[in-house]
């Protein structure tokens, strides 16, 4: 019952009771009056007085009632409303006013509110800390993986790539059909699916076997296998399962569910080839040697057993021996030459630029030592800037430092000189000095002693280190100039053609792009794409530059630029950017528009080569473009010529913009970008436009969701409805 009604009821009750009271009093008075004198008031006066009394009584009563109501009925109701309000807005407090009892209640409520706010803040802080530490761990992992010299790929159970490092990208990319490594892509474009499944099965089998009848749980950590990639490289892969607690997935190892796997890859093509070459070499030495030796032996035995043979016969045998010996010598020389170059590929060694080594050696030699005030001066001269060495650089630096410091300690040498020159196929590294020097035996012993200087020691000797690098070191006196030196000859190496170690730096606040753990749960469970939410789908945003605006009148594509959106992020570092030779002339007007000149296009691959690559790039994604109908028409027209069909769903940002802002006049990309707050730069290259389109699309997604367009089906239906959809090419 509303409080006002209650009040009215109470007031009425009070008035009635007052009335009854006064009426009773009047009646009593009247009764006593009829007994008594009757002097005084007239009946009207009495009635008037009674009425006044009633009125005053009622008024007083009502006033009291209203006051009480205000203090003890409406005030608590107000307090209740205010309390309700604090549920939504945390920082409010109840005012300190009203009846003392209510004030006490209010203060108690405020205390509770304060406690609640503190709790909320605490929880928020904890969540933030946890998130920050998680991000830090992820960054560390990403940095670790970026720096590994092996390729690492982490996939979820469906074979979707979650994480990979730069080396993996370079090792696994670049085959003719355009299959590349990328976030969200299937690893099965590179690896045979059956192979991975078989490996996981073997792991499961092994874990099952080992848990039967044994106490502890022994899980087989990983499995190795060797496979050929489509590009023809031989990879040795080590597969380790990622075990998680989630029991939804089917496959299990030792009771823990597999949620994915990690592949560590080693390209063994070269070492395999080298091994094969070496085996072939040994084989040829053995087999190639048997023949000539056989002939020689036989001839020699003839000569010795039958000393009475005619001279001509004798000559013939001798010729045999001579010729076969010569052939054998030649064979040996060839084998030695082939072998020595392979020998230098020992894996313990690394390539280092010679001048860099000398510089570091000089620095290390002049490092101050704890008990030594005098500093040894190191001069470097004659250092060949382009000479590469393949050495155990740490060992070599140790050796140089050891020799230099020993010279300082035992012969008070003040200055040493380092030089590095090329001598044919060899590098000549000299550590020379002026002044006193030792005799040959002492020098030799220095080269054979274990390297001990002060507190640093190594079990190896200088000679050992140099031998490891397939080099030679000796002591030599330069007679004329009173210099002596330790001269080292090392095989010169070719400049490495190795991979640049690029760590892709993340933009401020953005996650570094090589991993995405959020799609760990993503599976290829088949539900129609149409019912997927736009937020969870993957897209390829693309744009083309063409020779003109008429696809059916002979205009051709001259550039395709594309990038992918996975998990609501634009992957800037996984792009497709290719110029295409249109095999026709460009009109000057079109050159003005896109800035691509004819000579930039000559020599580029044609659409027959590029279209399959692009098809592979956008496999399993939804195509997004601005005014996509235009580009799709071009692609469709090439279907017959290239045999490539683009059958994935297509979304057009122009139509979506019309869905969002139907009353805007222009739907040009720049205008939409400005409207949505996307910065535009690098325009009028296909890739630049694709990037802008991608950002625009991402900005549109939440706006579309607000309008109730959340799934692909809804987006397509809404697009169709808009006006521009009627424009056909």
């Amino acid at each position: 019952m509303g409080s006002v009604r209650k009040l009215a009821l109470a007031a009425t009750a009070l008035c009635l009771s007052v009335l009854v009271l006064v009426a009773t009093t009047a009646a009593v008075m009247l009764v006593s009056e009829s007994d008594g004198s009757g002097a005084g008031r007239t009946p009207e006066e009495r009635v008037a007085m009674l009425c006044v009394l009633v009125f005053v009584g009622c008024a007083l009563g009502c006033w009291a009632l209203i006051r009480l109501h205000a203090l003890y009925v409406s005030a608590p109701l107000r307090m209740a409303e205010e309390l309700l309000a604090t549920v939504a807005y945390g920082r409010l407090r109840l005012p300190d006013e009203g009846a003392p009892e209510l004030r006490a209640l209010g203060r108690a409520a405020n205390q509770l509110l304060a406690v609640r706010d503190a709790l909320e803040a605490d929880v928020a802080e904890r969540v933030r800390e946890a998130r920050a530490s998680l991000e830090e761990e992820r960054s560390r992992l990403a940095a670790l993986m970026a720096d590994l010299s092996q390729s690492v790929v982490v996939c979820n159970l469906d074979g979707r790539v979650l994480l990979y490092n730069q080396r993996a990208k370079q090792e696994l990319s670049g085959s003719a059909d355009g299959s590349t490594l990328g976030l969200g892509r299937s690893i099965y474009t590179v690896f045979d699916r059956a192979l991975i499944e078989h490996a996981i099965e073997r792991l499961q089998q092994a874990s099952r076997e080992s848990t039967v009848g044994t106490e502890g749980r022994k899980l087989l950590g990983s499995l190795q296998f060797v496979t050929a990639t489509p590009a023809g490289r031989l990879l040795r892969a080590q597969l380790s399962p990622v075990l998680g607690g989630d029991r939804e997935h089917g496959a299990q190892i030792g009771g823990l569910a597999i949620t994915g796997f990690v592949l560590v890859l080693d390209d063994v093509t070269t070492s395999n080839e080298r091994q094969a070459r070496r085996d072939a070499l040994i084989q040829s030495l053995i087999e190639g040697g048997r023949g000539p030796l056989g002939s020689i032996r036989a001839a020699a035995e003839m000569l010795s057993d039958f000393s009475d043979m005619p001279p001509r016969q004798r000559d013939r045998f001798l010729t045999v021996i001579r010729d076969e010996a010569r052939a054998l010598s030649k064979h040996l020389e060839n084998a030695a030459g082939a072998f020595s170059s392979d020998l230098r590929e020992r894996w313990l060694l690394e390539e280092i630029l010679g001048s860099e080594l000398v510089e570091v050696a000089a620095r290390r030699i002049t490092e101050p030592r704890p008990n030594e005030r005098r500093i040894l001066v190191v001069k470097t001269e004659d250092v060949d800037e382009d000479l590469w060495l393949r050495v155990d650089s740490f060992g070599l630096l140790q050796a140089l430092r050891y020799l230099a410091l020993r010279l300082q300690d035992e012969y008070q040498v003040r200055e040493v000189r380092l030089s590095l020159t090329r001598e044919g196929q060899l590098a000549q590294l000299d550590l020379s000095w002026l002044g006193t020097f030792m005799n040959n035996e002492t020098a030799m012993s220095w080269l054979q002693d274990p390297m001990v200087i002060g507190s640093e020691s190594s079990p190896l000797s200088v000679g050992d280190v140099i031998e490891r690098c397939s080099g030679e070191i000796w002591f030599q006196r330069v007679r004329v100039s009173h210099r002596a030196m330790f001269r080292t000859m090392l095989p010169a190496a070719a400049a490495p053609k190795d991979l640049p170690r690029v760590i892709v730096a993340a933009e401020e606040g953005e996650r570094p792009e090589f991993y995405d753990f959020d799609i760990f749960r993503w599976s290829t469970a088949s539900h129609e794409l149409d019912d997927c939410t736009l937020a969870e789908l993957s897209y390829t945003v693309f744009d083309t530059e063409t020779t003109g605006l008429q696809p059916s009148a002979g205009d051709e594509i001259i550039q395709i630029g594309a990038t992918r959106i996975v998990n609501r992020r634009l992957l800037r570092h996984e792009c497709f950017d290719q110029l295409i030779d249109p095999c026709r002339r460009l009109s000057p007007q079109s050159i003005e528009v896109h800035g691509i000149t004819q000579d930039l296009l000559t020599g580029q691959p044609t659409i027959e080569t590029i279209l399959p690559q692009f098809r592979a790039f956008c496999a399993d994604t939804i195509l997004v473009g601005h005014n996509a109908a235009f580009d799709m028409r071009f692609l469709q027209l090439k279907e017959k010529q290239t045999g490539i069909r683009f059958d994935q769903p297509v979304l057009d940002t122009l139509l979506l913009a019309a869905v969002l802002h139907p009353n805007q006049r222009t739907h040009k990309l720049e205008a939409i970008a400005e409207r949505l707050g996307v910065s535009v730069f690098g325009r009028h290259t296909a890739l630049g436009d694709a990037m802008v389109t991608g950002e625009v699309f991402l900005k549109m997604l939440p706006l579309l969701a607000e309008m109730g367009i959340k799934t692909l089906r809804q987006a397509r239906e809404a697009s169709e409805k808009t006006f521009h959809a009627r424009l056909k090419y």
Binding site: Q428, G471, E472, W474, M489
Partner: protein
């Protein structure tokens, strides 16, 4: 006066051929079978040329070469290394230690002869 050549090698089968060849050419040939013997022989007889193998017992050819070169009295002695150690770093070492020539086995005896003649300037 005919030139004197010392052949230092522990492998009898090659020594026999070299000795035969050089004697036929008119050189005086002595033989040493290990490094110490070789060094002693060089000091004692002062030959004009030493044919030095590297892999010998007691003292290897590189050390003999270095020792000979360290002795100013023996500066006129020519040294030709004749060895199975054929890697280019080893060749470099031999020449760096003061050898006047370096030939790897197997070699052609004609080449050996021409090299010997060149070093002895005959």
């Amino acid at each position: 006066m005919s030139k004197r050549i010392l052949v230092a090698d522990d492998e009898q089968n090659i020594v026999i051929s070299i000795e035969f060849l050089l004697r036929r050419e008119g050189f005086e040939v002595t033989v040493a079978n290990d490094g110490e013997e070789a060094l002693a022989s060089v000091r004692a007889q002062k030959p004009d040329l030493v044919l030095l193998d590297v892999m010998m017992p007691k003292m290897n050819g590189f050390d003999v070469c270095q020792a000979v070169r360290a002795d100013p009295d023996l500066s006129a002695t020519r040294i030709l290394m004749l060895t199975a150690k054929g890697r280019d770093t080893e060749v470099s070492k031999g020449l760096g230690l003061g050898a006047d020539g370096y030939m790897t086995k197997p070699f052609s005896t004609k080449e050996l002869l021409s090299e010997v003649r060149k070093l002895l300037e005959v």
